[in-house]
Symmetry: C2
Subunit: 543 residues, 2 copies
Amino acid sequence: MADNHATAHPPVRFETHPDRYIHWNLAFDGPVARLSMDVKEEKGLRPGYPLKLNSYDLGVDIELADALQRIRFEHPEVKAVVVTSLKDRIFCSGANIYMLGSSTHGFKVNFCKFTNETRLYLEEMSAESGIPSLCALNGTASGGGYELAIACDDIVLADDGSSAVSFPEAPLLAVLPGTGGLTRLVDKRKIRRDLADAFSTIAEGVRGKRAVEWGLVDEAPPKAKFDEVVKRHVEALVAKSKRRPGKAITLAPLGEYKHVSVDLDAKTRVATITMKAPADKAPASADDLAKLGSSAWCIQAWRELDDALLDLRFNQPNIGVVALKTTGNADNVLAWDAFLAKNKEDGLVRETILLMKRVLKRLDMTAKSFFALAEPGSCFVGSLLELALAADRFYMKDDPDAEVSVQASPMNAGLLPMGNGLSRLSTRFLADPSLVGRVLEAGKMDTQAAVKAGLVTFAPDDIDWDDEIRIAFEERAAMSPDAMTGMEANLRFAGPETLETKIFARLSAWQNWIFQRPNAVGEKGALTLYGKPERPEFNWQRT
Amino acid sequence: MADNHATAHPPVRFETHPDRYIHWNLAFDGPVARLSMDVKEEKGLRPGYPLKLNSYDLGVDIELADALQRIRFEHPEVKAVVVTSLKDRIFCSGANIYMLGSSTHGFKVNFCKFTNETRLYLEEMSAESGIPSLCALNGTASGGGYELAIACDDIVLADDGSSAVSFPEAPLLAVLPGTGGLTRLVDKRKIRRDLADAFSTIAEGVRGKRAVEWGLVDEAPPKAKFDEVVKRHVEALVAKSKRRPGKAITLAPLGEYKHVSVDLDAKTRVATITMKAPADKAPASADDLAKLGSSAWCIQAWRELDDALLDLRFNQPNIGVVALKTTGNADNVLAWDAFLAKNKEDGLVRETILLMKRVLKRLDMTAKSFFALAEPGSCFVGSLLELALAADRFYMKDDPDAEVSVQASPMNAGLLPMGNGLSRLSTRFLADPSLVGRVLEAGKMDTQAAVKAGLVTFAPDDIDWDDEIRIAFEERAAMSPDAMTGMEANLRFAGPETLETKIFARLSAWQNWIFQRPNAVGEKGALTLYGKPERPEFNWQRT
């Protein structure tokens, strides 16, 4: 099957640095960071599709994600971000169609997921870090380009008679604006559904005054006044910023993983991720953390986990099940957690906690089955207990001869919420919220206590452990990957839905469906034939 | 393509009557209705699949939907429903696999949607009509069988050493429990996600005490005490029933439509549904309504619309766009609406309003594009205004020579909520809730006033009307049916998500995706090979 060629490309790497950016210019002017898109046509991540008109591929988005992370950690002075383009008359024409048309189904799905995560990071910067953003549309924003714009707080569009905002995906490509666009239209900007319907079917888009009337942009000044209006919006954003003061640190290259190890077993299709507790004492103050810089456990370890998860998604498609393990000194984890919780109002500490939160959400959104395994020597406590709570199942060994224990910390009490807005403990105990407090206050729990507390799925004893675990992994790995992906997407996020869960569950699920339909990707499909002389041919049946 | 054979079968008809039920026995004992499943193997709706072990196809569910409707209208004395089986040791083994395996993609999707609607009707009966339900599992409930059980308020399972509840879809068929099952596990019964994960992958299911411990059933008495425990549960449900008193009426056969007309144009793939205002004066009292019986406009007209929508879904797959029109005396609609709103505490009137609500939700959930058209002589007022609010777009003619008007009634103020729990006006005006009150209080509005009020998408004048409408329908019908289905599913339901919207948007969208994946429906897929000696072969890539 076509998907089996997914790994024919060199593996995708997610680390970069502003010095190496190809497609973005990141500049700073006091409290304002300016992110300007200037995509190099010939520098696509993979060969075969020139990135014309500021269209993007995964490589462009990897740089955007890196830039946002650096603004958070390296630039505590920044209080607003301006996203704009260095190209004349075009802001961004969206995801590159030829890239999409030539990608496997799996790559398309993972590409969309990553771009969605990055757009949500922009919104989290505004909501949680006090760094709102403005999109200065000095030219047309179409498709994913407009989706990037509506991820910003404010949008200013030049009213020059030609610049438009548009979602041409449905009319031209028979797919959806899949990077959160449809959800953001009606749920974030709260645009009337009938106007959203019209907008999403007008390939050429909407300009100037009408774009303002429909709520698609916030202001559309004439070209001559564009810079002045953008300046006014940016000043207002800076004024309303609630960014907390904190020291800057530099995000050093990850290098070889120090706190995370990944074992891949191609035969069983099982990966084992082991996360190590910190070996050092926790910092005494936020200033101490700043001195440690990005090598501090609470930054380095979670950046490594993030990188490992992205590697699993993009470069290890055949891995079906991931064993999550922890090792090291549980007291050290609890000490680092206590430090973080105590100093959470400091800017740098806050960014550290938000990083951990995003990495755990990346895990929630990864289409692999996760089984966490607690054995003697493990340290599923506090922030590392979140790994067990994020897992589809948690196996804890009931060993009379060796202590196995788990313990909560203040980090489990809401500082690391899921996409649904609830902590993992609250999501787990929707049926009886009093159990949340009981776990938080229980202190160290052995296996029997953890079972009673509702934390453990299965607790085989030392005699059965090896066989039970082996069989559980074998059975899981033998099930249909698609059924597991769909099942997990439905079981992991009980409780309230948010913009974020709507984007990943509703919009993405529909897009995944459409990404398989012959009307889009068949021989005569619109995505396949885009840019070619033939017209697409549709099967007209509505489903 | 395979889907083009969907209409080779005789059209599906949705009308039935207890006298003609093949698969269900409906019995009444004072305040208790007893619905017993006894599926006739050889009486499937289509040939080729024996309905063994109380497995079901669409025909079985059409009878269930009819039974629920009749309990509402014909049996105001009923205060609880017992759902059980007449077969020994088996309650229901779910949707018939051979039926699913031999169905087109479109039929599978529409079948699941209809079964989901019927399950939700059971829950609405409990929440809105005061008719809670108990599932008496005198044998195993698997797949859709257990999904039917968890749509009931209470579940009693016989602990006889063999009866189990199970979701074998993922492990055996590589698809999801798609009739709301996964959502109801974690969101309705609030079962812990890790236990839900384990349960959904154990093909043989869970029995007795463990089923109670995991929250899968409410009680699991030994066989000898089963009847006694069921009786106790039923008595408790009857005691808590808040059913409002009201007169019984008989639901007569629909016969030829009197208030709804449907025009199909195979060439343009456009259907026109015209709904007529009542010709008669509104009843003076609930007793008067009971005298009119099911021929009353507020029952007959909406039952006709329901039937027409189901016909479009199942029997007219090539229709892409539906024009919604109204005609007749607007004052009569307002008078009937006023009657309904005034008498909403009466049991019969309440059921009538709930019927209208369900039909409008059926429209919201129908995968066709709806454009409502207001011209001179139309009567988009009150309950009929909901058609325009449910439509993807509302075109209103701006005619200087002939009056075109719209008007709200108390029926638009929350009595006909969408699946998201909000009225269509509230969903439309999420950005500015004050507009809801303004529309409700505005009285009669001409086109210009309706445009200002935010009700109208486009208001062409009499010179442009014909061309604009023709082009709008042509353009819509020319777009990819799949892209339109996905787009509408994302734009129609802004605002809060509920169990219901989660089932239709999240669970169903994933199931639709899986229903296309080779791992399920390919030549070597699990659904295709079910019951055959070959083992399925999976592409192991996780997406």
